[in-house]
């Protein structure tokens, strides 16, 4: 089918575009982007509502889809559904499933489930070590050819400096980054919140920020030695940010991501003992939060990732010490980013697109991040002035473990288009009905 998105404001920083453009799509591929395009024959014309902004499809580089093995929390299908509602056209999923994604079989299984769901694109991240047990390298070449886009032992850190070095050297051959969950276990111990005043008052075991910072320094130094690409997952503290900045200054190939909960919340939240404030790395103090926000602005932080970690209600309804770490994030990320970063003037929409589309695409080496003639039409339609009330009970994700339930936010997702097909249309945004015509032919 042929379609023309008419009159919308398009933001594509990779091409230096921020203004009104028409976008022509044919058979799911972008064919033209320009002002005042002539309408070809048999084209469905879609009037883009003036309240909407068209961006390259957002890519979340860090989610947990829980399938295979923990389907009670989430499946590839429900996770992809949550992703598109959240405005994401693609997600990269971590290998800490059961069994671990350390071989082609599991990778192919995940890809199969994703194509059955036929919603967001799913890019599996393979394990660094077999079973993610930190001993022996996984068969990374096999993982790459099966479809993995990066490697990580997320959930755990890459266990030793030697393993990290070997992983970097090896993965570099295939142009893949090593993504590290930086946590020195001997320091974090049985900690459940950030070590500091709040932990002292609440009587909870603390995790010192140093547990993250030390490993970030390790990984950056090694990347300097190997010349490979290392990506720091869910970076949370000012100290870690300094290490990344210093690495970048020395032209080391280090990148990092920050989650919306880390730039929105601080460890003051733990006073309520609500386990929806329990995650790793833990919420930090406000100085760290401020440093992260500054980093998002000045480029030290490369991308926003959700670390979407679904957990069943029963598992989270436990004593704070016992409850599992993690919260969902796919369906709140865009609204939080618009509300807390864009509307407060910290960043503009162009920078938002860099953080949520361009940079993730580049670091993961996947298609997207820009609206390219000849490339699949993956688009995120934003409604920056939409009033959104977060309603966990309405989440498409199987799990509702979010600290943001009931929050009123300024800004949301109007629609999500994957391969020229509308996979999500927000009924609360007037004028979006017209996008319904975008469907697969046949």
């Amino acid at each position: 089918m042929k379609a023309l998105l008419k009159g919308g404001r398009v933001i594509d920083p990779s091409k230096g575009i921020d203004g009104h453009r028409d976008v022509a799509i044919e058979e799911g591929i972008v064919t033209q982007i320009d002002r005042d395009l002539v309408v070809p024959d048999e084209t469905q014309v879609i009037e883009v509502p003036s309240s909407c902004v068209i961006c390259p499809g957002f890519i979340d580089p860090h989610v947990h889809l829980r399938e295979p093995g923990q389907e009670h929390k989430e499946t590839v299908a429900t996770g992809s559904a949550a992703a598109v509602v959240g405005g994401f056209t693609a997600v990269a999923c971590m290998p800490n499933t059961n069994p671990i994604n350390d071989n082609a079989g599991v990778t192919e299984f995940i890809l199969k489930k994703a194509s059955e769901a036929d919603l967001a694109r799913v890019y599996p991240i393979g394990a660094v070590s077999i079973g993610s047990n930190g001993e022996q390298l996984a068969e990374i070449a096999e993982l790459k050819s099966a479809g993995c886009v990066a490697i990580s032992d997320d959930g755990r850190p890459v266990a030793t400096a030697l393993l990290m070095r070997r992983a970097q050297e090896y993965a570099n051959m295939f142009g893949m980054a090593v993504i590290d969950h930086c946590e020195v276990h001997s320091l974090s111990g049985d900690g459940v919140v950030n070590e500091g005043h709040q932990a002292a008052l609440a009587g909870l075991h603390g995790i010192p920020s140093a547990a993250e910072e030390i490993m970030v320094e390790r990984d950056v130094t090694l990347a300097g030695v190997t010349g490979a690409a290392v990506h720091i997952a869910h970076l949370s503290s000012a100290g870690s940010l300094r290490a990344v900045a210093s690495g970048k200054e020395r032209k080391i190939r280090v990148t990092c991501e920050v989650t919306p909960h880390h730039f929105t919340l601080t460890d003051e939240s733990v006073a309520s003992y609500d386990t929806n404030f329990k995650m790793k790395p833990p919420l930090q103090e406000s100085e760290d939060q401020q440093a992260l926000i500054q980093g998002l602005k000045d480029g030290t932080v490369d991308m926003i990732a959700t670390d979407h970690a679904p957990h069943h209600h029963d598992e989270k309804s436990m004593e704070f010490d016992r409850a599992p770490f993690g919260i969902v994030g796919l369906e709140t990320a865009v609204s939080l980013t618009l509300d807390r970063l864009v509307h407060t003037g910290v960043i503009g929409l162009s920078r938002l697109v860099e953080l949520m589309a361009a940079n993730p695409a580049r670091v993961l080496g996947v298609v997207g991040g820009t609206i390219e003639v000849g490339a699949p039409a993956d688009l995120t339609i934003l409604a920056p002035d939409l009033s959104v009330t977060v309603r966990a009970s309405a989440f498409r994700s199987k799990s509702k473990n979010t600290p943001f339930d009931g929050w009123k936010l300024h800004g949301g997702v109007a629609g999500t288009i994957v391969g020229g097909r509308s996979v999500f249309i927000n009924g609360d945004v007037s004028g979006m009905d017209t996008f319904k015509v975008l469907r697969r032919d046949g």
């Binding site: 002292a200 603390g206 010490d321």
Partner: protein
């Protein structure tokens, strides 16, 4: 006119008693239907509990140590951690108020997983206890419970977080000896990092205007200790100098296994309360300990059994304070 009851009369005036033709005099109530932490209590509420405990103490002095106040009420003592003295204390307090007590010990821990806390309590709700006295190994367990459960909850110790009735009975004991708590110098010595007794006491003493000094080895000093806003030192002599009250906390064997102190012997050398160290304090100093004692570790027998020690009084006062807590929480629960 007899002047023996002057102080009572004056106190009625001071509380702004309203003229009524019943004996209902300017009543006060706890604001929350749970007693979970000192941090939630106002100074007013703390005094309410202490004043009520004074009246309750008298009941313990009678031949018939019973009043019908909580007759027909059921109190469940739900203990997820072993405890003899706190349990005993609550049980006696409940029986003195004529309540029906239900003692439940649950053998789970962070390692041994059994029925969840939530499920245990929901099962308990079938018997509808009016109040639950909860001791648990996880900080914040009481908060979790208060979200799922209809009964009034009294925190008898949650993980490392708080032990409010202990701090209240400590304050009660101090008041009996020193009259007023404001301005007193109180030294708290021992394993501060893991102590819920420390947290509750620091919060309470600070609210009442005492000058608190925390003392212990650096490895057992809670990180983020500045959050409490009190002085801290690793020198026991400095902490004890001119102290009016010395509170000693128990050192547990596990602390050595965790690498916090090299040996109990060394701990005793540096921090143990001996008569010699005690002489640095004010002459009328009182020595307190929540129990059970490790003689020869945090305290010598000489001091524990000596004239400055009020350790056994603490135990007796514990019953009165817990009676007050039960009475007031029962009244607060009824209100909501």
């Amino acid at each position: 006119m007899s002047d023996r009851f002057d102080s009572e009369v004056r106190s009625v005036r001071e509380t702004g008693a309203i003229n009524r033709d019943s004996s209902l005099e300017g009543g006060r109530r706890l604001r929350s239907r749970h007693l979970l932490s000192i941090s939630d209590l106002s100074v007013d509420e703390i005094f309410l509990i202490l004043d009520t405990a004074e009246a309750m103490k008298e009941v313990g002095g009678r031949a018939i140590k019973k009043v019908p106040t909580l007759r027909g009420r059921t109190v469940a003592n739900l203990f997820f951690e072993p405890s003899t003295r706190t349990r005993m204390s609550f049980e006696i307090a409940e029986k003195r108020l004529s309540a029906d007590t239900l003692g439940i010990t649950v053998a789970t821990s962070s390692i041994v997983k059994g029925e969840t806390l939530t499920d245990t309590v929901l099962n308990l709700e079938a018997i509808a206890p009016d109040m639950i006295v909860l001791r648990h190994w996880a900080s914040g367990a009481g908060h979790l419970l208060s979200r799922v459960c209809k009964s009034g909850i009294i925190n008898a110790g949650d993980g490392m977080h708080e032990h409010p009735t202990q701090a209240l009975l400590d304050a009660f004991t101090i008041r009996e000896h020193k009259g007023c708590i404001a301005g007193l110098k109180v030294a708290i010595i021992g394993d501060l990092a893991h102590s819920r007794v420390m947290r509750s006491n620091v919060l309470l003493l600070k609210k009442l205007g005492a000058e608190v000094c925390l003392c212990g080895p650096s490895t057992l000093m809670p990180s983020g200790v500045e959050a409490f806003g009190v002085a801290s030192t690793t020198s026991v002599d400095e902490a004890v100098r001119d102290a009016d009250v010395i509170m000693l906390l128990r050192i547990q064997l596990e602390r050595m296994q965790g690498g916090f102190v090299p040996s109990l012997r060394e701990y005793f050398k540096l921090f143990g309360m001996t008569s010699k160290r005690l002489s640095l304090a004010k002459p009328e100093v009182i020595v307190m300990h929540p129990g059970p004692l490790n003689r020869g570790v945090e305290i010598t027998s000489e001091v524990a059994d000596g004239p400055h020690s009020v350790i056994l009084e603490q135990v007796a006062n514990g019953v009165a304070v817990r009676m007050a807590a039960l009475y007031l929480v029962a009244g607060a629960s009824e209100n909501s």
